[in-house]
């Protein structure tokens, strides 16, 4: 479970987060929906302890990230934006490296890596260096890294950017599977279909604040619109920065 309470953060002169509070529950996929510049990435980075909040705190399974960063991070998997691949390593080395950093022994890390590589159908590229990978191959490598140590909570920052239909499907199926296994999945996005198709709960963000919370259907009902897209525009009051 990921819980964010009263988070405020100023970057330069911009109030990136403004008393942001929400909760992402286990066994659910929570979508953080907002236009570009709404503070989605800042929020996720704060949850990871990369940025320090001016006010408020973030909890992972009840552990305060700012107070016990290592314990909190052990319960997290991150699919970052941008991916941050090591181009000179192979996916097998890359994934197993991060598995070891998460406390797995070398043997365990190797076994876990093999498992996740098979799960993501990556056996054909597992021993090729990441340099020159396609966007889909990069996505899979980053995703494998995020879930290899079986964290209870998985955070994905804009996971479907630049992916083709096939890769998007792989990602979607995996997220659903994680949800069914009882993981807490939190992802940020500005793509409506994706959010509508996947999320149990949508948190609509604008200008660092939560504008509305609810399932896609609830949001439509709340605003009296037929589609999530229309509901979203109604909620944030502008159509700036939205990808259909």
């Amino acid at each position: 479970m990921i819980k964010v309470c009263d988070l405020s953060k100023k970057i330069g002169d911009v109030q990136a987060l403004n008393n942001l509070s929400f909760e992402a529950k286990d066994g659910q996929i929570t979508g953080l929906l907002g236009p570009n510049g709404a503070g989605k990435t800042t929020c996720l980075r704060t949850v990871f302890g990369l940025l320090q909040a001016d006010k408020g705190h973030a909890e992972i399974d009840g552990i305060d990230v700012a107070k016990s960063p290592i314990e909190a991070k052990q319960k997290l998997g991150l699919f970052p934006d941008p991916f941050g691949l090591y181009e000179r390593l192979t996916p097998r080395e890359y994934v197993s490296y991060f598995a070891e950093l998460n406390g797995l022994s070398r043997q365990e890390a190797k076994a876990a890596t093999q498992k996740v590589l098979t799960q993501l159908h990556m056996d054909d590229i597992a021993d090729r260096r990441c340099k020159g990978f396609s966007q889909g191959q990069r996505m899979k490598t980053a995703l494998a890294q995020a879930i290899v140590h079986q964290p209870t909570n998985i955070i994905l920052d804009e996971p479907t950017r630049g992916l083709d239909v096939m890769s998007t499907r792989v990602l979607r199926d995996l997220l659903k599977e994680l949800k069914n296994q009882g993981h807490c999945v939190l992802f940020s996005s500005h793509v409506m279909q994706e959010v509508a198709a996947l999320c149990d709960q949508v948190i609509v963000m604008a200008e660092g604040k939560v504008v509305a919370v609810g399932s896609p259907d609830e949001l439509c009902q709340q605003t009296g619109k037929d589609s999530l897209e229309d509901a979203f525009i109604q909620l944030i009051g502008t159509d700036e920065g939205i990808a259909a």
Binding site: I70, Y86, N102, G103
Partner: protein, 387 residues
Amino acid sequence: MISNIMTMVRKELIDAARDKRSVMAGLYYAIGTPLMMCGMFMLLIGQMTSPEDLNIKIENSDNAPDLVKYLSSKGITHGDSQSTNDKGDQLDVKDIRLVISDDYAAQMAKGLSAEITLIADNSNEKLQKSIRRLERNLQTYSAEMGSLRLIARGIDPRVVQPIKVNVEDEATADSKGGVILGVATMTMIYAVFISGMNLAIDTSAGERERNSLALLLSHPVSTRNIVLAKVFSVTVFAMIGLLLTLIMSKISYAFVPWQELGFTVTISTEFILLMLLIGLPIALMAASLQLFVSFMAKSFKEAQSYLTLVLIVPMMLSMAASYNIAPDTLQWLPVSGQQQALIAFIKGREIPMLQLLLSSVTTLIIAIGLTLGMEKSLKSEKIVFGL
């Protein structure tokens, strides 16, 4: 905790070993520098031991066969532009003319002053040394002739030499070699700074540029361990560079004709071990310094330009030690202190233990300080995201 440092060091080394740029940077230096030094020493020794022959134009040399013989015994001979030496190479004839007057022989015979004229462009810097050399030799010859005349007249020549200057050259073989030894050890110490430099930039500024720094920091690893792992990896690279440099030096220095200087620089196994031992704290300092600076820089390129500037400091310390500038102060300072100890070891003198210990401890303290500084800076959002 320790195991995750090991994991990171292993990954950094695999990553670096696959990075051609990092490997090449170390290799070029380790292989190239000892060879270049070897060539330079050969030239230097050649110049130090045998003064070159001086070829000038001597006119009317028939009038003064004795003088000409004397000069040629001092390596000063007549030559014209077509002359060649024994090997058949064209001679380098200096634009200096020595004109012996027509009445030279007659004047000499009469015991009067015989005239010779030295014609050269005194403002020509390149000729200065040769002109001085010729003048000095002519004066000596003149003094010798004068003494002979006095003796012929039954007068002790010492009456015209109220002061007899005795010059004793105290330069021993090994003090002459001081600069050479200094430069040789300097290149070895510098190997530590050069070999790890590319890796240091790659793993700090480069890591941030590739966006993997934020990812790494998002994992349950303490910042201290990340910093330590990076410092150790760069140190390992630096030490490998040093070892290679030492091996290359051991091989190539064997070809330098040291015997002409009266001493030898042999890179013995003991020296290699001592150098590696002394080099370790320096390598740790070099690694932390380079990482610290690169983390401060916004990009790979910026880090490269900063580092080039920063590396001048240890270079200066090392240079100063090589040229024996302020040796009393320098023996206590990092880099130069260790270098003086190494020079003492090659010269077969006693190693100044206290100074070596103190400079090594200072080196380590600097390394620890920089590492802690880096740990702190990695907690800053500005550094992590390059804001």
